[in-house]
Symmetry: C2
Subunit: 430 residues, 2 copies
């Protein structure tokens, strides 16, 4: 019994998938039940790292998703359209779909999963988060006995690379970004990465699996790393922290707190040591405690590995299903929840803060800042006047865990007074 794969996209990831499917040596024996049947690419003549027989290639992607012989459609063209329409069309033609498309899943997940449920097919997305790191399937399967409380991840390799280099070199954001673009670690338009949008797509997906409910993409509070300076990295380091762009999903009472922001991470935390383009996802649950998954968060090989693991899982489930008239879906591979998760208000978040003020070097400034925080019940862990240039001083404050709404109110009070010149930076601390 063989299963026929229709591959949409022959860029770096698509070529990586094809390479695995065409050379099963030393890999899962189940690969031998898979046939790379049709491949859709934008151009038929472009030179590629993998040789596909010309008769399998087509530029007509639509013809693949409607081909009655295709069992599994692999979507690795990326972007929102035509990816969404092609996946929907494939599902309506009762094909299982494997995708690496975090943007489409984060935005159109409900529509796509509803369609898959109705058609009795699998919609698989291991490659959408964490590149090659197995995280989607472990969340569905391996942690099913746990009550998950939080997921904290470094899930964007570009920003982690930039922050790691800024830390190692004492360099500023703009210089490192330009160099990262030159070296291919950052896109020409870096918005999706550096503004946290890609990480927000991914944490929305992870939260949905961890908490068993749908997530509206816009519910993810998102801050990027453009405003991080070498100065803040240096202060953070002195205080015992690394600055990382974290994507966080946590239970907050009956709701879920969802956010992406640069964060001070204690040097002793395993995530503080994840450097360069690597990703790591830290999961907390009861009774498991804490587990972490670490690996390459992007790249054609790792992403292809994740795509193929989904294809294998679908093939295995099809084998176990046999020739039945009504498809029976294995619940460990499906995403069957349909309610939306209630989202917590950011004001109600309990977190520690790091804040750096620029002030005039005048007596009473520190006392004033301290009492503004005190009036709003914001308890401080440390408050240090760190540097004086002429008549300017910097005051760096680290709070205890406080309600974000109270902290923001105190900050507004401080702003309203003339005690400070500006708030140079505000960062959360875990």
């Amino acid at each position: 019994m063989g299963f026929k794969v229709g591959l949409l996209g022959l860029g770096t990831v698509g070529a990586g998938v094809a390479q695995i499917l065409l050379d099963a040596t030393g890999r899962s024996p189940l690969l031998q039940s898979l046939e790379l049947y049709r491949v859709g690419a934008r151009s038929l003549d472009k030179p590629r790292p993998v040789e596909i027989p010309r008769e399998q290639l087509t530029t007509d992607l639509q013809s693949i998703v409607t081909d009655p012989n295709v069992d599994i459609v692999v979507e690795v063209i990326g972007g929102l359209e035509p990816a969404r329409s092609l996946m929907l069309e494939a599902i309506r033609h009762r094909k299982h779909v494997v995708t690496a498309n975090k943007a489409a899943i984060a935005r159109f997940g409900p529509e796509l999963f509803d369609a898959a449920k109705q058609a009795g097919v699998y919609l698989m997305l291991e490659a959408a988060v964490g590149g090659g790191i197995p995280i989607i399937q472990p969340l569905k399967q391996s942690l099913g006995g746990d009550r998950l409380n939080g997921i904290t991840g470094i899930i964007n390799g570009t920003t982690n690379y930039i922050l790691s280099r800024m830390t190692a070199e004492g360099a500023d954001f703009g210089d490192v970004l330009a160099d990262a673009q030159r070296l291919g670690y950052a896109e020409a338009d870096p918005t999706a990465d550096v503004d946290g949008l890609d990480a927000a797509d991914k944490i929305a997906i992870l939260a949905s699996l961890a908490f068993g409910g749908r997530i509206k993409r816009e519910a993810v509070h998102t801050e990027g790393i453009r405003n991080i300076t070498a100065t803040d990295i240096t202060y953070a380091d002195k205080l015992g922290f690394a600055i990382k762009l974290l994507a966080i999903a946590r239970r907050q009472g009956p709701a879920v707190s969802l956010r992406v922001h640069p964060t001070l991470v204690p040097h002793s935390h395993p995530l503080a040591r994840v450097d360069g383009a690597f990703n790591a996802i830290f999961v907390e649950g009861q009774p498991i405690g804490q587990v972490m998954f670490f690996g390459p968060g992007a790249g054609s090989g790792p992403t292809a590995s994740a795509v193929v693991s989904d294809v294998l899982n679908v093939a295995a489930a099809m084998q176990a299903m046999g020739e039945r008239a009504t498809p029976v879906i294995n619940p460990m591979l499906a995403c069957s929840h349909s309610d939306f998760c209630p989202i917590a208000s950011l004001d109600d978040l309990e977190t520690r803060f790091y804040v750096r003020f620029l002030t005039s070097d005048r007596p009473g400034t520190i006392g004033h800042i301290g009492s503004c925080f005190g009036n709003r019940l914001v308890s401080l862990e440390s408050l240090v006047q760190t540097e004086v240039n002429g008549d300017e001083a910097q005051v760096v404050v680290v709070t205890h865990a406080v309600r974000e709404g109270d902290f923001r109110a105190a900050l507004a009070d401080i702003h309203a007074s003339d005690a400070i010149r500006s708030v140079a930076s505000v960062l959360r601390v875990i």
Copy 2:
């Protein structure tokens, strides 16, 4: 449709499993299809952290594995017998079996898996390695598209705890062991842990999954940590290494190299930073590159989490299988290989070595050691005479990657001469 679970053993892990099965709130909805049906314990009257109705409890474990109503047997009594016989009996009665028993699987795996295959049932073992860390199922499923080249793990929490404390405190093995026993981190009889036997059981299991062949337990070359001294930890640290008990399975030509031994790990390697009772498993493959799984390697909660994930996987597969006369096994959950892996000779291993000699402080000693290595084509990275007490000196050598057989021959040459007083320690380096 409900599935009935028969639980063998109500120690800490068994009680943890029962607690999850009895309280599904916030966990996988699939838990609601499971019923904790019968529980076998040594004593009916012992107070326990979980309340089991008296009529479900029995001391007659045999009656559980033969009970026609039981669908899934969970074996958490540990040890070789009666665990092996009970599992075989359960399998013969066509029950799926979930076990946390690495010792029994490492020794009786072929017998147990053959029986499971014949009966058409699942034999699941996520909890046997790495406690709560998802590693078995990711190896079976998530890395199926990869050609795995090596697994390197810290998979014994007791020894990692002891080595971490020796490193942090500059203390010697005996003192830390005694304290670890007092605190419950080491057993009264610590042999299985400190001599590497437990880690050897586990790497045999991981290697079997990674390389798709059976492994004879005695094929694992095993060295423990009893001979590690504070002196070596200090020298290693100065050279840029931590000392860890690693379990290693690697492709070596057409064969597999299998070993457990204390190892110098560069400080920059992710495994060097895994401290205390934590476990971490580092997997290398093509095209994924490197991924690491980190978490609590033991404990009732984490182990119970892993056990329940297997139970859920079996229940999901049973649901998908439906009421068919002939069972159809999902190949992503089964271990279907039946050939044994060829095992590489330790002599042919290519590795770096660290060796510390005690010598008399005489001119020519270093030259003699150097030429003994040179004669056997053992290339040295560094050779340092590090300390002199009266007429005694220590010489610490680090080699480049060399054939182990050549290194051992050179060591014998050095021994045979009177250039040194003794070989204080020999450790491999990764």
